[in-house]
Symmetry: C2
Subunit: 211 residues, 2 copies
Amino acid sequence: MSEADRQRQRSGLSAKADQILRAATQVFMDQGYGAASMDTVARRAGVSKATVYAHFSSKEQLFAAIVRGECRRHARAMAAPDIAASGVEDALYRIGENFLHFILTPRSLAIFRVVIAESPRFPELGRIFYESGPAIISGELSAHLAGMARAGRLDVDDPALAAEQFFGMLRGNLRLRCLLGEPADVSDAGIERAVRAAVAAFLRAYAPTAP
Amino acid sequence: MSEADRQRQRSGLSAKADQILRAATQVFMDQGYGAASMDTVARRAGVSKATVYAHFSSKEQLFAAIVRGECRRHARAMAAPDIAASGVEDALYRIGENFLHFILTPRSLAIFRVVIAESPRFPELGRIFYESGPAIISGELSAHLAGMARAGRLDVDDPALAAEQFFGMLRGNLRLRCLLGEPADVSDAGIERAVRAAVAAFLRAYAPTAP
DNA sequence: GTCTATAAAGGGATAGAC
DNA sequence: GTCTATCCCTTTATAGAC
Protein backbone atom coordinates (compact mmCIF):
# COMPACT_ATOMS: atom_id res chain seq x y z
CA MET A 1 0.00 0.00 0.00
CA SER A 2 1.50 3.28 -1.10
CA GLU A 3 1.93 6.38 1.02
CA ALA A 4 -0.67 8.13 -1.10
CA ASP A 5 -3.14 5.35 -0.39
CA ARG A 6 -2.56 5.55 3.32
CA GLN A 7 -3.04 9.28 3.26
CA ARG A 8 -6.22 8.89 1.27
CA GLN A 9 -7.63 6.34 3.71
CA ARG A 10 -6.78 8.62 6.60
CA SER A 11 -8.93 11.31 5.03
CA GLY A 12 -11.76 8.84 4.41
CA LEU A 13 -12.00 9.31 0.65
CA SER A 14 -12.41 6.75 -2.08
CA ALA A 15 -9.73 6.62 -4.74
CA LYS A 16 -12.05 8.33 -7.21
CA ALA A 17 -13.03 11.06 -4.82
CA ASP A 18 -9.39 11.65 -4.09
CA GLN A 19 -8.60 11.83 -7.79
CA ILE A 20 -11.35 14.41 -8.28
CA LEU A 21 -10.25 16.36 -5.25
CA ARG A 22 -6.67 16.58 -6.49
CA ALA A 23 -7.74 17.84 -9.88
CA ALA A 24 -10.20 20.26 -8.36
CA THR A 25 -7.54 21.62 -6.04
CA GLN A 26 -5.36 22.41 -9.02
CA VAL A 27 -8.19 24.07 -10.90
CA PHE A 28 -9.52 26.14 -8.01
CA MET A 29 -6.04 27.25 -6.92
CA ASP A 30 -5.24 28.14 -10.47
CA GLN A 31 -8.36 30.01 -11.48
CA GLY A 32 -10.07 31.02 -8.27
CA TYR A 33 -13.51 29.95 -7.13
CA GLY A 34 -15.55 32.08 -9.50
CA ALA A 35 -13.63 31.32 -12.67
CA ALA A 36 -13.25 27.61 -12.01
CA SER A 37 -15.98 25.52 -13.61
CA MET A 38 -17.14 22.04 -12.75
CA ASP A 39 -16.63 21.13 -16.41
CA THR A 40 -12.97 21.96 -16.15
CA VAL A 41 -12.66 20.00 -12.91
CA ALA A 42 -14.29 16.95 -14.49
CA ARG A 43 -12.10 17.12 -17.59
CA ARG A 44 -8.96 17.56 -15.54
CA ALA A 45 -9.90 14.62 -13.33
CA GLY A 46 -10.68 12.49 -16.36
CA VAL A 47 -14.27 11.80 -15.31
CA SER A 48 -17.68 13.12 -16.24
CA LYS A 49 -19.38 15.95 -14.48
CA ALA A 50 -22.02 13.59 -13.13
CA THR A 51 -19.28 11.63 -11.40
CA VAL A 52 -18.00 14.79 -9.77
CA TYR A 53 -21.49 15.43 -8.42
CA ALA A 54 -21.73 11.82 -7.25
CA HIS A 55 -18.89 12.55 -4.83
CA PHE A 56 -19.39 16.23 -4.02
CA SER A 57 -22.92 17.50 -3.83
CA SER A 58 -22.19 21.01 -5.07
CA LYS A 59 -19.45 23.37 -6.15
CA GLU A 60 -19.51 24.92 -2.71
CA GLN A 61 -19.06 21.56 -1.01
CA LEU A 62 -16.20 20.72 -3.32
CA PHE A 63 -14.55 24.01 -2.53
CA ALA A 64 -14.96 23.42 1.18
CA ALA A 65 -13.35 19.99 0.87
CA ILE A 66 -10.43 21.52 -1.00
CA VAL A 67 -9.83 24.21 1.58
CA ARG A 68 -10.10 21.76 4.44
CA GLY A 69 -7.57 19.51 2.75
CA GLU A 70 -5.11 22.35 2.24
CA CYS A 71 -5.60 23.45 5.82
CA ARG A 72 -4.61 20.00 7.01
CA ARG A 73 -1.44 20.39 4.97
CA HIS A 74 -0.85 23.72 6.63
CA ALA A 75 -1.33 22.29 10.09
CA ARG A 76 1.19 19.56 9.36
CA ALA A 77 3.74 21.94 7.84
CA MET A 78 3.40 24.28 10.79
CA ALA A 79 4.37 21.62 13.25
CA ALA A 80 7.22 23.37 15.00
CA PRO A 81 10.73 22.26 14.11
CA ASP A 82 12.49 20.68 17.03
CA ILE A 83 14.01 23.58 18.87
CA ALA A 84 13.84 22.36 22.44
CA ALA A 85 17.57 22.15 22.92
CA SER A 86 18.43 25.21 20.86
CA GLY A 87 19.61 28.61 21.92
CA VAL A 88 17.25 31.55 21.45
CA GLU A 89 18.85 32.87 18.29
CA ASP A 90 19.10 29.48 16.66
CA ALA A 91 15.50 28.65 17.48
CA LEU A 92 14.21 31.90 16.03
CA TYR A 93 16.32 31.40 12.96
CA ARG A 94 14.95 27.94 12.30
CA ILE A 95 11.36 28.94 12.97
CA GLY A 96 11.73 31.95 10.72
CA GLU A 97 13.25 30.09 7.83
CA ASN A 98 10.63 27.37 8.07
CA PHE A 99 7.87 29.97 8.11
CA LEU A 100 9.06 32.05 5.17
CA HIS A 101 9.82 29.08 3.00
CA PHE A 102 6.36 27.73 3.62
CA ILE A 103 4.26 30.85 3.08
CA LEU A 104 6.08 31.77 -0.12
CA THR A 105 5.40 28.43 -1.76
CA PRO A 106 3.20 28.79 -4.86
CA ARG A 107 0.75 26.40 -3.27
CA SER A 108 0.54 28.36 -0.03
CA LEU A 109 0.14 31.61 -1.93
CA ALA A 110 -2.65 30.11 -4.01
CA ILE A 111 -4.68 28.85 -1.07
CA PHE A 112 -4.09 32.10 0.77
CA ARG A 113 -5.38 34.07 -2.20
CA VAL A 114 -8.52 32.06 -2.66
CA VAL A 115 -9.38 31.88 1.04
CA ILE A 116 -8.99 35.63 1.39
CA ALA A 117 -11.12 36.14 -1.68
CA GLU A 118 -13.97 33.87 -0.64
CA SER A 119 -14.00 34.19 3.13
CA PRO A 120 -16.92 36.66 3.14
CA ARG A 121 -19.08 34.04 1.43
CA PHE A 122 -17.57 31.09 3.31
CA PRO A 123 -16.93 32.43 6.82
CA GLU A 124 -16.34 28.96 8.21
CA LEU A 125 -13.45 28.39 5.83
CA GLY A 126 -11.81 31.62 6.92
CA ARG A 127 -11.93 30.42 10.49
CA ILE A 128 -10.60 26.97 9.62
CA PHE A 129 -7.75 28.51 7.66
CA TYR A 130 -6.80 30.85 10.47
CA GLU A 131 -6.94 28.14 13.10
CA SER A 132 -4.90 25.65 11.13
CA GLY A 133 -2.19 28.07 10.03
CA PRO A 134 -1.54 31.49 11.56
CA ALA A 135 -3.10 30.66 14.93
CA ILE A 136 -1.03 27.51 15.37
CA ILE A 137 2.28 28.99 14.47
CA SER A 138 1.75 32.21 16.40
CA GLY A 139 0.59 30.24 19.40
CA GLU A 140 3.60 27.99 19.32
CA LEU A 141 6.09 30.82 19.07
CA SER A 142 4.20 32.67 21.76
CA ALA A 143 4.52 29.72 24.12
CA HIS A 144 8.17 29.40 23.26
CA LEU A 145 8.82 33.08 23.93
CA ALA A 146 7.01 32.83 27.23
CA GLY A 147 9.27 29.97 28.23
CA MET A 148 12.35 31.92 27.28
CA ALA A 149 11.10 34.91 29.21
CA ARG A 150 10.59 32.75 32.32
CA ALA A 151 14.12 31.45 31.91
CA GLY A 152 15.40 35.00 31.79
CA ARG A 153 16.69 34.62 28.26
CA LEU A 154 14.33 37.21 26.76
CA ASP A 155 12.64 40.30 28.07
CA VAL A 156 9.16 39.78 26.66
CA ASP A 157 6.08 40.71 28.63
CA ASP A 158 3.44 40.07 25.96
CA PRO A 159 4.54 36.88 24.19
CA ALA A 160 1.54 36.73 21.85
CA LEU A 161 2.14 40.23 20.59
CA ALA A 162 5.90 39.70 20.30
CA ALA A 163 5.30 36.53 18.28
CA GLU A 164 3.10 38.39 15.83
CA GLN A 165 5.70 41.12 15.56
CA PHE A 166 8.35 38.56 14.74
CA PHE A 167 6.33 36.98 11.97
CA GLY A 168 5.30 40.40 10.72
CA MET A 169 8.92 41.47 10.44
CA LEU A 170 9.73 38.26 8.63
CA ARG A 171 6.99 38.77 6.09
CA GLY A 172 7.55 42.44 5.47
CA ASN A 173 6.10 42.97 2.02
CA LEU A 174 7.47 39.71 0.65
CA ARG A 175 4.24 37.77 0.56
CA LEU A 176 2.32 40.76 -0.72
CA ARG A 177 4.75 41.20 -3.59
CA CYS A 178 4.44 37.53 -4.47
CA LEU A 179 0.66 37.72 -4.40
CA LEU A 180 0.65 40.78 -6.64
CA GLY A 181 3.18 39.44 -9.10
CA GLU A 182 5.75 42.07 -8.16
CA PRO A 183 9.38 41.05 -8.37
CA ALA A 184 10.59 39.63 -5.07
CA ASP A 185 13.71 37.81 -4.04
CA VAL A 186 12.39 34.50 -2.77
CA SER A 187 15.56 32.57 -3.43
CA ASP A 188 17.09 30.69 -0.53
CA ALA A 189 19.60 33.51 -0.20
CA GLY A 190 16.90 36.17 -0.18
CA ILE A 191 14.91 34.34 2.45
CA GLU A 192 17.98 33.76 4.56
CA ARG A 193 18.75 37.45 4.43
CA ALA A 194 15.24 38.39 5.55
CA VAL A 195 15.39 35.84 8.37
CA ARG A 196 18.76 37.05 9.59
CA ALA A 197 17.57 40.63 9.63
CA ALA A 198 14.36 39.82 11.47
CA VAL A 199 16.08 37.67 14.07
CA ALA A 200 18.73 40.30 14.66
CA ALA A 201 16.15 43.08 15.06
CA PHE A 202 13.98 40.93 17.30
CA LEU A 203 16.86 40.05 19.58
CA ARG A 204 17.97 43.67 19.87
CA ALA A 205 14.38 44.58 20.74
CA TYR A 206 13.84 41.85 23.29
CA ALA A 207 17.24 40.88 24.64
CA PRO A 208 17.29 41.02 28.43
CA THR A 209 18.78 44.23 29.77
CA ALA A 210 21.91 43.70 31.81
CA PRO A 211 20.94 43.43 35.48
CA MET B 1 -19.80 73.65 -7.80
CA SER B 2 -19.59 70.99 -5.13
CA GLU B 3 -16.47 69.25 -3.94
CA ALA B 4 -17.72 66.01 -5.47
CA ASP B 5 -18.09 67.73 -8.84
CA ARG B 6 -14.59 69.10 -8.72
CA GLN B 7 -13.23 65.69 -7.87
CA ARG B 8 -15.20 64.16 -10.69
CA GLN B 9 -13.90 66.66 -13.22
CA ARG B 10 -10.36 66.02 -12.04
CA SER B 11 -10.79 62.36 -12.92
CA GLY B 12 -12.29 63.25 -16.29
CA LEU B 13 -15.62 61.47 -15.86
CA SER B 14 -19.10 62.62 -16.76
CA ALA B 15 -21.63 62.80 -13.95
CA LYS B 16 -23.31 59.64 -15.19
CA ALA B 17 -20.08 57.71 -15.51
CA ASP B 18 -19.18 58.77 -12.00
CA GLN B 19 -22.55 57.63 -10.72
CA ILE B 20 -22.07 54.24 -12.35
CA LEU B 21 -18.53 53.97 -11.07
CA ARG B 22 -19.60 54.65 -7.50
CA ALA B 23 -22.31 52.03 -7.61
CA ALA B 24 -20.01 49.55 -9.31
CA THR B 25 -17.35 50.12 -6.68
CA GLN B 26 -19.82 49.20 -3.98
CA VAL B 27 -20.96 46.10 -5.83
CA PHE B 28 -17.51 44.81 -6.76
CA MET B 29 -16.09 45.47 -3.28
CA ASP B 30 -19.07 43.78 -1.76
CA GLN B 31 -19.34 40.69 -3.93
CA GLY B 32 -15.96 40.30 -5.59
CA TYR B 33 -15.30 40.36 -9.33
CA GLY B 34 -16.74 36.97 -10.18
CA ALA B 35 -19.96 37.25 -8.22
CA ALA B 36 -20.71 40.83 -9.20
CA SER B 37 -22.97 41.10 -12.24
CA MET B 38 -23.45 43.97 -14.62
CA ASP B 39 -27.17 43.68 -13.97
CA THR B 40 -26.63 44.40 -10.31
CA VAL B 41 -24.34 47.31 -11.12
CA ALA B 42 -26.91 48.82 -13.43
CA ARG B 43 -29.74 48.41 -10.93
CA ARG B 44 -27.65 49.85 -8.11
CA ALA B 45 -26.68 52.82 -10.27
CA GLY B 46 -30.28 53.36 -11.32
CA VAL B 47 -29.55 53.03 -15.02
CA SER B 48 -29.94 50.35 -17.66
CA LYS B 49 -27.27 47.86 -18.51
CA ALA B 50 -26.87 49.43 -21.95
CA THR B 51 -25.97 52.71 -20.28
CA VAL B 52 -23.31 51.01 -18.25
CA TYR B 53 -21.82 49.65 -21.46
CA ALA B 54 -22.05 53.10 -23.06
CA HIS B 55 -19.52 54.30 -20.46
CA PHE B 56 -17.43 51.21 -19.82
CA SER B 57 -16.79 48.90 -22.71
CA SER B 58 -16.65 45.68 -20.68
CA LYS B 59 -16.82 44.27 -17.20
CA GLU B 60 -13.04 44.07 -17.17
CA GLN B 61 -12.69 47.73 -18.12
CA LEU B 62 -15.13 48.71 -15.43
CA PHE B 63 -13.20 46.72 -12.88
CA ALA B 64 -9.96 48.33 -13.97
CA ALA B 65 -11.51 51.79 -13.58
CA ILE B 66 -12.69 50.89 -10.08
CA VAL B 67 -9.30 49.64 -8.95
CA ARG B 68 -7.53 52.64 -10.44
CA GLY B 69 -9.91 54.96 -8.60
CA GLU B 70 -9.36 53.20 -5.30
CA CYS B 71 -5.62 53.29 -5.85
CA ARG B 72 -5.78 57.05 -6.26
CA ARG B 73 -7.52 57.16 -2.90
CA HIS B 74 -4.74 55.06 -1.44
CA ALA B 75 -2.06 57.29 -2.85
CA ARG B 76 -3.72 60.34 -1.33
CA ALA B 77 -4.26 58.69 2.05
CA MET B 78 -0.67 57.50 2.13
CA ALA B 79 0.66 61.03 1.77
CA ALA B 80 2.91 61.13 4.79
CA PRO B 81 1.69 63.09 7.78
CA ASP B 82 3.85 66.09 8.47
CA ILE B 83 6.62 64.76 10.62
CA ALA B 84 9.50 66.95 9.54
CA ALA B 85 9.89 68.66 12.88
CA SER B 86 9.09 65.63 15.04
CA GLY B 87 11.32 63.47 17.12
CA VAL B 88 11.96 59.93 16.00
CA GLU B 89 9.49 58.30 18.37
CA ASP B 90 6.73 60.77 17.68
CA ALA B 91 7.18 60.45 13.94
CA LEU B 92 7.01 56.66 14.04
CA TYR B 93 3.99 56.85 16.26
CA ARG B 94 2.10 59.11 13.88
CA ILE B 95 3.08 57.15 10.80
CA GLY B 96 2.07 53.92 12.47
CA GLU B 97 -1.29 55.10 13.64
CA ASN B 98 -2.08 56.59 10.26
CA PHE B 99 -1.11 53.34 8.58
CA LEU B 100 -3.06 50.96 10.78
CA HIS B 101 -6.17 53.07 10.78
CA PHE B 102 -6.11 53.20 7.02
CA ILE B 103 -5.46 49.55 6.19
CA LEU B 104 -8.11 48.32 8.64
CA THR B 105 -10.86 50.40 7.09
CA PRO B 106 -13.61 48.24 5.59
CA ARG B 107 -13.02 49.95 2.28
CA SER B 108 -9.29 49.28 2.32
CA LEU B 109 -9.86 45.69 3.30
CA ALA B 110 -12.35 45.23 0.47
CA ILE B 111 -10.08 46.60 -2.24
CA PHE B 112 -7.18 44.62 -0.83
CA ARG B 113 -9.21 41.46 -0.96
CA VAL B 114 -10.38 41.88 -4.52
CA VAL B 115 -7.01 42.98 -5.88
CA ILE B 116 -5.29 39.99 -4.29
CA ALA B 117 -7.98 37.73 -5.69
CA GLU B 118 -7.86 39.02 -9.24
CA SER B 119 -4.24 40.02 -9.67
CA PRO B 120 -3.34 36.81 -11.54
CA ARG B 121 -5.87 37.70 -14.22
CA PHE B 122 -5.19 41.45 -14.07
CA PRO B 123 -1.46 41.69 -13.49
CA GLU B 124 -1.40 45.38 -14.32
CA LEU B 125 -3.83 46.13 -11.50
CA GLY B 126 -1.65 44.31 -9.01
CA ARG B 127 1.24 46.51 -10.02
CA ILE B 128 -0.82 49.70 -9.84
CA PHE B 129 -2.07 48.73 -6.40
CA TYR B 130 1.39 48.00 -5.10
CA GLU B 131 2.85 51.18 -6.52
CA SER B 132 0.12 53.43 -5.19
CA GLY B 133 0.00 51.95 -1.71
CA PRO B 134 2.65 49.75 -0.14
CA ALA B 135 5.48 51.03 -2.34
CA ILE B 136 4.75 54.67 -1.55
CA ILE B 137 4.45 54.29 2.17
CA SER B 138 7.43 51.96 2.51
CA GLY B 139 9.50 54.26 0.34
CA GLU B 140 8.61 57.30 2.40
CA LEU B 141 9.45 55.67 5.70
CA SER B 142 12.61 54.27 4.20
CA ALA B 143 13.74 57.74 3.18
CA HIS B 144 12.83 59.07 6.58
CA LEU B 145 14.79 56.36 8.35
CA ALA B 146 17.77 57.02 6.12
CA GLY B 147 17.68 60.67 7.13
CA MET B 148 17.50 59.79 10.80
CA ALA B 149 20.40 57.39 10.37
CA ARG B 150 22.50 60.10 8.73
CA ALA B 151 21.66 62.39 11.63
CA GLY B 152 22.85 59.74 14.06
CA ARG B 153 19.43 59.36 15.61
CA LEU B 154 18.97 55.75 14.50
CA ASP B 155 21.31 52.88 13.79
CA VAL B 156 19.80 51.58 10.56
CA ASP B 157 21.95 50.32 7.74
CA ASP B 158 19.20 49.00 5.43
CA PRO B 159 16.40 51.57 5.63
CA ALA B 160 14.16 49.82 3.09
CA LEU B 161 14.27 46.58 5.02
CA ALA B 162 13.80 48.32 8.36
CA ALA B 163 10.78 50.16 7.01
CA GLU B 164 9.16 46.91 5.94
CA GLN B 165 9.93 45.41 9.31
CA PHE B 166 8.21 48.32 11.02
CA PHE B 167 5.06 48.00 8.98
CA GLY B 168 5.16 44.25 9.37
CA MET B 169 5.30 44.56 13.14
CA LEU B 170 2.42 47.01 13.05
CA ARG B 171 0.25 44.70 11.02
CA GLY B 172 1.02 41.51 12.87
CA ASN B 173 -2.02 39.35 12.17
CA LEU B 174 -4.48 42.21 12.53
CA ARG B 175 -5.28 42.70 8.87
CA LEU B 176 -5.37 38.96 8.27
CA ARG B 177 -7.87 38.49 11.08
CA CYS B 178 -10.04 41.25 9.67
CA LEU B 179 -9.92 39.73 6.20
CA LEU B 180 -10.89 36.33 7.53
CA GLY B 181 -13.66 37.58 9.77
CA GLU B 182 -11.82 36.55 12.92
CA PRO B 183 -12.38 38.68 16.00
CA ALA B 184 -9.82 41.47 16.18
CA ASP B 185 -9.50 44.55 18.33
CA VAL B 186 -9.54 47.37 15.80
CA SER B 187 -10.84 49.97 18.20
CA ASP B 188 -8.83 53.15 18.59
CA ALA B 189 -7.48 51.73 21.83
CA GLY B 190 -6.52 48.45 20.22
CA ILE B 191 -4.74 50.20 17.38
CA GLU B 192 -2.97 52.55 19.76
CA ARG B 193 -1.73 49.59 21.73
CA ALA B 194 -0.36 47.87 18.63
CA VAL B 195 1.32 51.08 17.52
CA ARG B 196 2.93 51.70 20.91
CA ALA B 197 4.27 48.16 21.01
CA ALA B 198 5.67 48.31 17.49
CA VAL B 199 7.31 51.70 18.00
CA ALA B 200 8.84 50.58 21.28
CA ALA B 201 10.21 47.37 19.77
CA PHE B 202 11.51 49.19 16.71
CA LEU B 203 13.31 51.80 18.78
CA ARG B 204 14.91 49.16 20.99
CA ALA B 205 16.05 47.35 17.85
CA TYR B 206 17.43 50.38 16.07
CA ALA B 207 18.35 52.92 18.73
CA PRO B 208 21.92 54.10 18.29
CA THR B 209 24.39 52.34 20.57
CA ALA B 210 26.10 54.64 23.00
CA PRO B 211 29.34 55.84 21.39
C1' DG C 1 -20.87 4.50 -9.81
C1' DT C 2 -20.28 6.18 -14.20
C1' DC C 3 -21.54 7.92 -18.54
C1' DT C 4 -24.25 10.97 -22.31
C1' DA C 5 -27.44 14.29 -22.91
C1' DT C 6 -30.07 17.96 -21.33
C1' DA C 7 -32.68 20.94 -18.46
C1' DA C 8 -32.84 25.53 -16.15
C1' DA C 9 -30.92 29.78 -15.01
C1' DG C 10 -27.95 33.58 -15.20
C1' DG C 11 -24.76 36.74 -17.16
C1' DG C 12 -22.06 39.48 -20.64
C1' DA C 13 -22.92 42.08 -24.37
C1' DT C 14 -25.77 44.32 -28.24
C1' DA C 15 -29.69 45.91 -31.58
C1' DG C 16 -32.79 49.23 -32.47
C1' DA C 17 -36.05 52.79 -31.03
C1' DC C 18 -36.18 57.30 -29.10
C1' DG D 1 -26.97 58.98 -24.35
C1' DT D 2 -30.46 56.17 -22.67
C1' DC D 3 -33.89 52.64 -22.57
C1' DT D 4 -36.29 47.95 -23.59
C1' DA D 5 -35.82 43.66 -25.25
C1' DT D 6 -33.09 40.04 -26.64
C1' DC D 7 -29.20 37.18 -28.31
C1' DC D 8 -25.94 33.79 -27.20
C1' DC D 9 -23.11 31.43 -24.48
C1' DT D 10 -21.54 29.38 -20.18
C1' DT D 11 -22.50 27.24 -15.93
C1' DT D 12 -24.57 24.51 -12.31
C1' DA D 13 -26.99 20.60 -11.65
C1' DT D 14 -29.75 16.44 -12.87
C1' DA D 15 -32.33 12.53 -15.57
C1' DG D 16 -31.98 8.23 -17.37
C1' DA D 17 -29.35 4.41 -19.51
C1' DC D 18 -25.87 0.98 -18.39
